[in-house]
């Protein structure tokens, strides 16, 4: 019997866990014990999503471990990230959404020295989640994590492949089999609903559309939710999600650090790498102070020397409030026209690494999102929810509101619940776990994307040209949880006992495609998601035999997507795997 509903926010830079005793409303932040220094354990409200691979002499034992381990997760790992960057893994979550790499390949940290055993994005995710599970179990011996109602949040922009990997990692880490994955912007919405109780119905009417703008530490995420009339009751439906954008609050700190470094340079001081890192940290504090309600007009950035002399070797510069505000506002939330295109990197060669946005202008990304989803918005957005620590600064909220008013001629009403922007996603997730148990309103929406299986076109080969590719829509956008769909198509021939791979594509921009829709070519609004591997056991057939099959898509109640091949006589079923290891 579950005693708690637990919301887990697996953040790109920080993880937060919030729990609510079942049948109660008091939400509590779970304090996570973690190393903050060599041999010092402190419980903190968030666990930095950093993993440090220490040397053999840096092996430490957490209270729940039997053996010391040199894999350090949390506050101390984040600190080590600035001291020993090559042995530290950050932002594993963004690597999980990278479509061009094998997520199970041991490639992190990318610059690790040879003696370091690298880890895969999947393994790191698993390690961080398993850390949270162990910390919980240690504090709640009687109420093990696996027996609770658990909801884990992911970016709305995660495709089914990334969600599936996250799910698998979570289950391996000790999450209960029936845990639910929830999109972060929806969690922010639930957090608002949770604080409002039933009064939310007074603030929204059927036909309203809500824009959730979530700017986290490393990523930005947009979602659109509509209020719909369901047999006289107000319901909520998520109708669109944006792309995975790797730009967020951390970019601002870095930008500010560059600004400060220029000021130092003008004063004749050039900074060494170590000082630059320390500058970055100081700039985070400066940002919070200068963007907040603080009255002072300047903020002193001082960088202390590496050695023990602290006054003698400190250097400092003044950051002006107005300069910083203008710099960050115009850099990250510039005034743009509605039809402005997002700027792409001009070089064709992109290193294997995280695809950081080359355009840091969040307003420009937002304009693109609203433009691409103008059909779903229909006279909206009427309301807006801001999420993420960045929006503690009212000026960014104002700039977004002013921009939308300029673009669309209406100013959305801000749904404000005075919630803590750092923990609201985990709070919303914990609230959702209760909702899921049947005690509240649920946002429907189904899959955020449509999915396509790629086939080579039957055409004569031209030397030097890849065969053109067709896409068969196997999952339409908005397919609901707990349903399955037979995919109407010509029977496909599958070879059993052999491995076959299919390219897999997805799109957030094709709401009208139905299951079975055939794309004659792969168009620009469709992006490569991953590969699907059919490694089909013979199940009574001869190895190498070609079996005619029909396809079926199934979306589990938990949100897990499955693709099945079913023999024409219906007696045999094979499940396809996403992102299976390339061999």
């Amino acid at each position: 019997m579950s005693k708690f509903s637990i919301g887990v926010d697996l953040g790109t830079t920080n993880c937060v866990m919030v729990y609510t005793p079942i049948n109660e409303e008091n939400q509590k932040v779970f304090m996570i014990p973690q190393f903050v220094d060599s041999e010092v354990i402190e419980a903190r409200a968030s666990l930095p999503s950093f993993l440090y691979l220490g040397t053999d002499s840096e092996a430490f034992k957490l209270p729940w471990q039997n053996q010391p381990s040199s894999k350090i997760i949390g506050a101390w790992a984040r600190r080590r990230a600035s001291q020993v960057p090559d042995r530290t893994i950050a932002a594993a979550k963004s690597w999980l959404a990278h479509s061009k790499i094998d997520k199970r390949e041991n490639l992190l940290p990318t610059n690790a020295p040879e003696d370091v055993d690298k880890l895969s994005p999947y393994a790191v995710t698993c390690d961080i989640l398993s850390y949270l599970v162990s910390a919980w179990n240690y504090a709640n011996q009687e109420d093990k994590f696996i027996n609770q109602d658990v909801v884990l949040t992911v970016p709305a922009s995660f495709d089914e492949v990334a969600r599936d990997l996250t799910r698998e990692a979570a289950i391996e880490a000790g999450f209960p089999d029936n845990f639910t994955i929830l999109e972060e912007p929806q969690a922010a919405m639930y957090s608002w609903l949770g604080t409002k109780g039933d009064t939310w119905r007074k603030q929204l009417r059927a036909g309203d559309s809500l824009l959730v703008v979530d700017v986290g530490g490393g990523t930005s995420d947009f979602s659109l939710i509509k209020t719909v009339d369901e047999e006289g009751q107000l319901g909520l439906k998520r109708v669109a999600v944006g792309k995975h954008l790797l730009v967020g609050g951390d970019n601002m700190d870095l930008a500010l650090a560059h600004l400060a470094a220029q000021q130092f340079a003008q004063g004749g001081t050039s900074l060494d790498p170590w000082q630059n890192i320390s500058l970055w940290h100081s700039c985070r504090d400066a940002k919070e102070s200068l963007l907040g309600d603080a009255l002072q007009d300047t903020h002193t950035i001082s960088i202390k020397g590496k050695g023990r002399s602290i006054i003698g070797s400190s250097i400092s510069t003044q950051l002006n409030k107005k300069t910083v505000q203008d710099f960050l506002l115009n850099g990250f939330f510039p005034e743009v026209n509605f039809d402005e295109q997002v700027q792409r990197a001009s070089t064709g060669f992109v290193q294997v690494g995280l695809a950081y946005e080359s355009d840091a202008a969040i307003t420009r990304h937002l304009a693109t999102f609203l433009r691409e989803h103008s059909a779903e918005i229909e006279g909206g957005p009427t309301h807006i929810i801001f999420n993420g620590g960045v929006f503690k600064a009212a000026m960014f909220q104002d700039r977004v509101l002013n921009s939308i008013e300029k673009w669309l001629g209406l100013r959305p009403t801000v749904l404000d619940s005075e919630h803590n922007l750092d923990i609201s996603v985990a709070q919303g997730a914990s609230y959702y776990a209760i909702v899921r148990a049947g005690n509240g309103l649920r946002i429907r929406g189904g899959t955020s994307r449509s999915y396509y299986l790629g086939f080579e076109t039957a055409a004569m080969a031209i030397p030097g040209m890849p065969k053109p590719m067709q896409g068969l829509c196997v999952v339409p956008r908005g397919m609901e949880e707990g349903t399955s769909l037979a995919i109407p198509s010509e029977p496909l021939g599958l070879v059993v006992g052999q491995r076959a791979t299919f390219p897999f594509f997805s799109s957030t921009l094709r709401p009208d495609d139905n299951v079975g829709t055939l794309l004659p070519t792969i168009t620009a609004d469709v992006e490569e998601a991953d590969t699907i591997v059919a490694d089909l056991p013979t199940q009574g057939y001869e190895s190498g035999e070609v079996v005619s099959v029909k396809l079926e898509a199934k979306l589990q109640e938990t949100g897990a997507l499955e693709l099945w091949a079913i023999s024409l006589d219906g007696t045999q079923r094979w499940k396809f795997e996403f992102n299976a290891r390339e061999e």
Partner: protein, 184 residues
């Protein structure tokens, strides 16, 4: 009266310190009349992280606090530095950050709040029997109380006691900041 304060202090210690909480649990288990030895809740190995080591290290909490103040705020660097030669301006620039970070550490561990919520200069009465750890009478103190007077300093209190747990060796316990070596 003393027992009330002892109980309050113990309460915060239980809240703040898991090891201590476990040892209290253990104590209360021991205090229970035992009819069947099997009924005694045996704290498992897993639940007792380095408890014995922690108890051996006397004053470890103070060292852990000092270490945190150095790590997060570089307070020890500052206090150990000879500041005579520097101008007030130079000191001021460096101190701002040390001040903020030190306050963060203290509030994270102790959540420091004023002991009395009354304004400085306001009138208040000190009861006949008072805890000398809570009130300090100054000025012309005569008679047996209760005493009336004006509040000179509201006092401070730690509303929690959340010193991090040290899990290391006795030798390393006295290290406030490690020797840093830049490998090249």
């Amino acid at each position: 009266m003393f027992r009330i304060f002892q109980a309050t202090a113990t309460f915060f210690k239980i809240i703040g310190n898991r090891n201590f909480a476990l040892s209290v649990k253990h104590l209360s288990n021991q205090a229970k009349p035992v009819t069947n030895p099997d009924e005694v809740e045996k704290p498992s190995e897993e639940v007792q992280p380095n408890r014995e080591e922690s108890e051996q290290l006397k004053g470890i909490d103070a060292l852990t606090l000092l270490r945190a103040l150095q790590r997060d705020a570089r307070l020890v660097d500052f206090l150990q530095e000879d500041i005579a030669a520097f101008s007030d301006e130079q000191i001021g620039a460096a101190v701002r950050d040390i001040h903020t970070k030190s306050a963060e550490v203290l509030n994270r561990f102790f959540d420091i709040k004023p002991l009395s919520n009354q304004e400085e200069g306001s009138q208040l009465e000190v009861p006949k029997e008072f805890d000398s750890g809570v009130f300090t009478l100054i000025g012309s103190v005569s008679g047996k109380g209760p005493w009336k007077g004006s509040l000179a300093h509201p006092g401070w209190q730690a509303t929690k006691n959340d010193i991090p747990v040290y899990t290391g060796s006795e030798q390393a316990a006295k290290v406030i900041a490690p020797t840093e070596v830049e490998v090249n």
